[in-house]
Symmetry: C2
Subunit: 370 residues, 2 copies
């Protein structure tokens, strides 16, 4: 799509925008809580938001990726109990096979079982690590149905990025939560704000309450261009997650369309040249059009490069120039999301707005509560 297509994203009523062809458009009929001025009666809605949990609900805990630290898992479950939830830890969470939380078949089936379990109200990943891309083919043959997906919110990040993409391929428009994971050391040592972010994403019915506005930084040189033309604000469907996983999905059936979207990226412990190479894979796989075709780019935490001396820190201005971002691309960076103690929550698949004047990322309340 052309750059002009991105502009039209700023108009929420512009439902014919071809760049959103993969998102189901529906018209809301009624919602008592829909007092947000962005959501006029009859306005188009984007995305499918599963219902929140309520006090007393059972929630499924799964481990689709790396082996889980049981002590941290226990700590995380205690937090969930403090919030009035009943964590249902799948027996297979405790398995180990090399660096994985059990054989591929077990991890895949546990995830399917969690979504199909009528007694639980959400699916929370214990941890990331590695292993999700090993089960994508199995999941695609599993008989997991979109109806099961839309009944439950799904939580996780890092390696879980691949599963977020899988879910959205199964149910276009499905909103899933890039969030802290309860058996992660980042969660145990995490800030109160980070834990509160997970709690809100679990319990709040409205998307804007579940995912409060996040503050980032705006790279000065990039505040002009297309965002300036649209009043410093751009909107688009939020996609992305961990860069290593986004790159590892290129060329597979689970690569999400990026054109017209707001792309979020974070990573950790990666040398600058690796980050560079992964971004170049995204760029070349789009025929060199990636940064021209995105509505915007949101960068979370990348941390210092793993192998010092082989390049600058990722969040530096130098890196922006290395990657070759066009000056017209709206960019927010240092959004508090990623492998950090103050990891917040992002609604993948939802329409979000980048406000470059305020350097903020906020959700747009056009969702269908399923």
């Amino acid at each position: 799509m052309s750059r002009s297509g991105v502009h039209s994203m700023a108009g929420v009523h512009d439902v014919d925008d071809s760049c959103n062809s993969s998102v189901p458009y529906r018209h809301k009929e009624s919602d008592e809580e829909s007092d947000d001025e962005q959501l006029a009666a009859g306005a188009a809605v984007y995305g499918i938001l599963p219902p929140p949990v309520q006090t007393g609900d059972r929630v499924s805990i799964v481990a689709p990726s790396g082996a889980v630290n049981k002590n941290i898992l226990q700590f995380g479950c205690e937090i969930l109990k403090q919030w009035g939830l009943q964590p249902v830890v799948d027996d297979r969470v405790g398995e180990e096979w090399a660096y994985l939380a059990g054989p591929d078949e077990h991890r895949a089936q546990a995830l399917v079982d969690a979504f199909n379990d009528p007694t639980t109200k959400a699916v929370i990943c214990a941890g990331g690590g590695y292993g999700s891309t090993r089960i994508l083919l199995l999941l695609s043959q599993s008989g997991l149905h979109e109806n099961a997906l839309q009944k439950k919110r799904f939580f996780g990040f890092s390696d879980i990025t691949a599963l977020h993409s899988f879910c959205r391929l199964l149910l276009p428009g499905y909103i899933s939560f890039h969030s802290p994971m309860i058996a992660s050391s980042y969660f145990r040592k995490g800030t109160d704000e980070s834990r509160r972010a997970l709690k809100l994403a679990l319990f709040q019915r409205r998307l804007s309450s579940a995912c409060p506005t996040l503050q980032g930084c705006c790279y000065t040189r990039l505040q002009t261009g297309n965002a300036a033309e649209s009043g410093g604000k751009v909107q688009g469907v939020l996609v992305g997650g961990n860069l290593s996983l986004i790159a590892a999905l290129v060329g597979t059936p689970w690569q999400e369309e990026l054109s017209g979207k707001i792309l979020f990226l974070e990573d950790v412990d990666e040398a600058s040249y690796r980050v560079d190479r992964m971004v170049m894979q995204l760029v070349t796989s789009t025929g060199g059009r990636l940064f021209q075709d995105l509505a915007g780019l949101v960068l979370g935490h990348f941390g210092p490069p793993r192998e010092g001396g082989r390049g600058p820190p990722v969040d530096s201005m130098f890196w922006f120039e290395m990657i070759g971002l066009p000056p017209s691309l709206p960019v927010l960076h240092e959004i508090p999301v990623g492998h950090i103690l103050d990891n917040r929550v992002l609604p993948l698949g939802a329409v979000v707005e980048m406000d470059l004047d305020k350097a903020q990322l906020k959700v747009v309340e056009q969702v269908e509560l399923s």
Copy 2:
């Protein structure tokens, strides 16, 4: 393609095999040196082998990837001079831009200029590192012509893997050399056999002389199956190189077709889970058919995993089971190619034969000398 298609690769006259549709088939008319029994008069030939260099020839030295160590480069040039060659070091080889040997435009243009230079007879990469995937789009717009390619042999490995793929996309059937690089520390400290391998690949006219048979190991459990049915031997076009690069090309225009091919892979300093993830990207990008559709798999050096404790060494039997190789797939491993001092040469794009009884990889002399 089906597994049965692989079997027919063992018959060198089976030129209608659909798995080789990307390779130009031609019939040799005459070649004084073609006394190899594999090459009967009128037999089909695969691949395009540029002419060798001769004593006194000028050869182009380029740096398409990472910044070059000038001391090692000087050492490498001295070796070339000892062999009677005149290394022509492009001025841009000495440039530095972050971790790269100069800006993308310079590195790309230097490579194009080297192929277009009528006074030089081969193109040798100084080193790898990182940077080749950054210039692929530039190269595709450069006007580099297949006629220029087929006049010169091209040498390099590691990051240069992407350029080997680029060359073969430009000129299907082009045979390029996965080889030591003259400004690499592996070359300076390398074995006599490794340096001799580069020399042979430069000077020898016949492919079997340029790339002598290599000895590997045969994973016992995998000696049966399809290879056994074909007398312990399988043939196919050799593709591949550095796994990180092969994975980074997935989903881009420079991803080579793997079905029916013999896939070579090597890497270094990669944690097992990363190797696993990269292989899974190849697997999922082929719809899960990769190992069923390959004619064979050849593994070079992978070294110990970078991050200890996160998985077994790559060459171990355990790793084979992790990756899930089917028992019927012919596999040779520990071929002396990769980031090692005894790095030998492989002819990418050429038809090779895996002899599983002897655990050897040897070239098949069906080439057209251009």
